[in-house]
C-alpha cells in the first residue's frame, strides 16, 4: 500500500525535479573549474594497507571549501579506500592501517588520540546503498543529534525541517514524518540519508558512489542537491560515472591501481588529460 503511494508520488515529483534540475544547471555553470583557495581537508602521503596488501600509495590531495572534488578510476583502484580514510572509517575495518597525515583545518587527525566521534560530526558520509535506519523519517534525522546531546522538541523539529529542506525532501515527506523511512523510494531514501548527514552540520561530506543504486532521475536530483549543499563546505565524491564527475565536480583526481595518477581542474582532466592511462580510461579503453 505505502509502496504504491510513494511510487506515484515519486512520479508526480519527478517532473518538478526535472524542472528544478535544468534551472539550476543554468545558474550553476561554474562546475569544472576551481573556485576557491581555502583548503578544508588535506592529505599528505597517505598509505593504506589491508594486512600485507598495500592498497594505496603516497596520496596527497587537498579539498577546498565550496568545491566538489570527484575521485574517479576503475574498480579496485583505491578511490573508495582513500575516501574511507578521510573520516577514519578505515579504522573500523579489522587489519586495515592508514599511514600519513590527514589534515583537517590544519591539524593532523590521523593520530590515536584524535576524537573520532567529534571528527565524524564534522566529516559526514553518504554511502552507495541508501541506508536509512529502521525508524521513522523524523527519528532518522534526529537520532544522531540526540545521541550527541541535542535536546528540546522545538530544536529538533526545526532541525528536521531544515535538514529535509536542505535535502530537497521536505515537501514530499512533511506530512508523513512519523512513517517508516523504508516506505520511501530509493531516491528519497538517499536524500533522507543526505538530510540525516546535514543535521549534524558537517564541514565536509564524503559521497561514496551515492547514485550507483539509483535511477537516472533520482541521480540528477542527488547531483543537484550536491551543488546546493556544497556552499560553505567541501564535498568529495567517489564515482564510477564519468559524466557525473564532469557534471558536478570542480576538481577531479584519477586513481589507478592504488596510485593517485593525476589531479586537476575537472575541465582540464576531461579535456586535456596528461597521463596516458587517464586518457585510455576516458576514451573507454578499460573501465
Amino acid at each position: 500500500m505505502s509502496v504504491e503511494t510513494s511510487a506515484v508520488e515519486t512520479d508526480s515529483t519527478s517532473a518538478d525535479f526535472m524542472a528544478s534540475v535544468s534551472s539550476s544547471e543554468k545558474q550553476n555553470r561554474v562546475s569544472g573549474f576551481a573556485i576557491s583557495d581555502e583548503v578544508v581537508l588535506e592529505t599528505k602521503d597517505v598509505n593504506v594497507y589491508y594486512g600485507n596488501h598495500h592498497a594505496l600509495h603516497d596520496t596527497s590531495l587537498a579539498f577546498h571549501k565550496d568545491e566538489i572534488t570527484a575521485l574517479i578510476g576503475p574498480s579496485g583502484c583505491g578511490k573508495s579506500t582513500f575516501l574511507r580514510s578521510l573520516n577514519l572509517m578505515n579504522r573500523e575495518i579489522r587489519g586495515c592501517r592508514v599511514d600519513g597525515e590527514i589534515e583537517y583545518r590544519g591539524h593532523n587527525i590521523n593520530t590515536p588520540s584524535e576524537n573520532l566521534y567529534e571528527l565524524r560530526k564534522s566529516i559526514g558520509m553518504v554511502f552507495q546503498q541508501p541506508n536509512p535506519f529502521h525508524m521513522s523519517i523524523y527519528d532518522n534525522i534526529t537520532f544522531a543529534p540526540r545521541r550527541h546531546g541535542v535536546r528540546g522538541k522545538d530544536v529538533l523539529d526545526q532541525m528536521v525541517e531544515e535538514s529535509l529542506r536542505g535535502a530537497a525532501l521536505w515537501d514530499e515527506v512533511k506530512d508523513k514524518l512519523d512513517k517508516s523511512a523504508f516506505a520511501l523510494s530509493g531516491g528519497q531514501q538517499q536524500r533522507l540519508c543526505i538530510a540525516r548527514t546535514l543535521a549534524v552540520h558537517p564541514d565536509v561530506i564524503l559521497f561514496d558512489e551515492p547514485c550507483s543504486a539509483l535511477d537516472p532521475i533520482s541521480t540528477l536530483a542527488i547531483e543537484d542537491l550536491m551543488r546546493n549543499v556544497v556552499k560553505d563546505r567541501a564535498i568529495v565524491i567517489v564515482t564510477h560515472n564519468m559524466e557525473q564527475a564532469s557534471r558536478v565536480s570542480n576538481r577531479t583526481a584519477f586513481f589507478y591501481m592504488g596510485d593517485m595518477v593525476e589531479y586537476g581542474e575537472t575541465e582540464q582532466i576531461f579535456q586535456r588529460p596528461n597521463d596516458a592511462r587517464l586518457n585510455d580510461y576516458l576514451t573507454g579503453m578499460f573501465s
Binding site: 572509517m89 560530526k121 558520509m125 541506508n131 544522531a144 545521541r147 517508516s180
Partner: protein
C-alpha cells in the same frame, strides 16, 4: 560396430535414468519414514496423556506419595520458575558476550580462547555440567539442592546456544546500518544498542524462545542441582523468602516436569503411569507452544519492523 556402440550408449543412458528413479524412490521413502516417526511420536505422547491432562486437579493439585499420586501443579510452576531465572541470568550475559564477539572482539588470542571456550561449553554433556553445578553451587557454595543451583546449571547449558543465536542475528544485520551510525560519530555501543539490536530483534526473540523450549525440557543437569524432591506444599502469598515453603524462595529444592517424569517413569502403579504420560503430554504441549510462539512472535516483529 557403430550400431553396438550406439546400443551401449542407449543402455548406459537407460541404466543411469533407472538409477536416478530408484534413488529418488528410496529417498522419498526415507523422508516419508522420518516424517512418520516425528508425527507419530508427537501424536502418541499427546494421545497417551491428553486424558490425564484434562483431568480435574492434574494441573492444579500438588503431587502426593512421592509423585505417584495427585497432580503436577508445583512441578509446572517450578519448571517455569527455573526457566525464567535461567533466562534472567543467561540472556544478559549472552547478549553481552555476543555483542563483544561481533562488535568489539579484537583479533587475537583472547577472542579465539573465548570462542573456543563457548564452543566447548556447547558440546559438553549436560550431565557434566550438572556434576560441576552440584560440586560448585550445591556443595561448595552451600546452596544445596536449590532452584538457584539448578538455574545456574541451566544457564551454563543455555549460554552457548544463546550466544550463537544472537551472534548470528547481529551478523545478519546489513553492514551498511553499522557504517551509517559510525560515520555520524556514534560509538559502537550506541550503534549496537539503538540500531543493530532493534533490527536483529526478531531473530533474537525467535532464538531465545526456541532455546527456552530446550531449557524447559532439560533434566540431566538438574538431577544434582535442583534435586528430585517435589515440594509438598508451597505458599505463593508469603513474603518470607527464607521459608522452605515460600514458592519464590530460590534456595528451596525444586523438581521440573522433565525430572518428575524421570523420577516416576518406572513406577508400576496405573495411577503413576497416567501421571507420567500426563506429564509428558504437558511437557510436549509446552515445548510445542514455545516452538509455535517463537515463529509467530518472530514473524510479527519482523513484519512490524519492515512494514509500519
Amino acid at each position: 560396430m557403430a550400431r553396438s556402440a550406439a546400443q551401449a550408449q542407449d543402455a548406459y543412458l537407460e541404466r543411469s535414468q533407472r538409477n536416478d528413479k530408484i534413488a529418488t524412490g528410496v529417498l522419498t521413502l526415507i523422508v516419508g519414514l522420518v516424517m512418520l516417526i516425528v508425527v507419530s511420536m508427537v501424536l502418541f505422547i499427546l494421545s497417551q496423556g491428553i486424558e490425564t491432562l484434562f483431568k480435574p486437579g492434574f494441573l492444579t493439585e500438588a503431587s502426593r506419595a512421592n509423585g505417584t499420586q495427585g497432580g503436577v501443579a508445583y512441578q509446572l510452576f517450578d519448571s517455569f520458575y527455573l526457566l525464567i531465572l535461567t533466562l534472567a541470568i543467561s540472556l544478559p550475559i549472552s547478549l553481552g558476550g555476543a555483542v563483544f564477539l561481533v562488535e568489539y572482539a579484537p583479533d587475537g588470542p583472547i577472542t579465539s580462547i573465548a570462542s573456543t571456550a563457548i564452543e566447548t561449553l556447547s558440546s559438553l554433556p549436560s550431565i557434566v555440567v550438572g556434576m560441576f553445578g552440584f560440586l560448585v553451587f550445591s556443595v561448595n557454595f552451600g546452596w544445596k539442592y536449590s532452584i538457584l543451583s539448578g538455574a545456574v546449571a541451566l544457564t551454563m547449558f543455555n549460554i552457548p546456544i544463546l550466544v550463537r543465536v544472537i551472534q548470528q542475528a547481529l551478523e545478519d544485520v546489513p553492514a551498511s546500518q553499522r557504517d551509517a551510525c559510525l560515520a555520524m560519530g556514534l560509538t559502537r555501543w550506541e550503534t549496537t544498542v539503538h540500531v543493530l539490536i532493534p533490527v536483529a530483534m526478531p531473530a533474537i526473540v525467535t532464538g531465545v524462545v526456541l532455546s527456552a523450549g530446550r531449557v524447559f525440557g532439560e533434566a540431566a543437569a538438574l538431577l544434582f542441582t535442583s534435586g528430585m524432591s517435589s515440594p509438598v506444599r508451597l505458599n505463593f502469598f508469603t513474603l518470607n523468602f527464607a521459608s522452605p515453603t515460600c514458592a519464590w524462595n530460590v534456595f528451596r529444592p525444586a523438581e521440573s516436569l522433565a525430572v518428575h517424569i524421570y523420577k516416576i517413569y518406572g513406577e508400576g502403579s496405573p495411577e503413576a503411569q497416567t501421571i507420567v504420560w500426563g506429564t509428558a503430554a504437558l511437557l510436549m504441549t509446552c515445548v510445542l507452544l514455545f516452538n509455535v510462539a517463537a515463529r509467530i512472535v518472530g514473524k510479527a516483529l519482523a513484519r512490524r519492523m519492515t512494514a509500519e
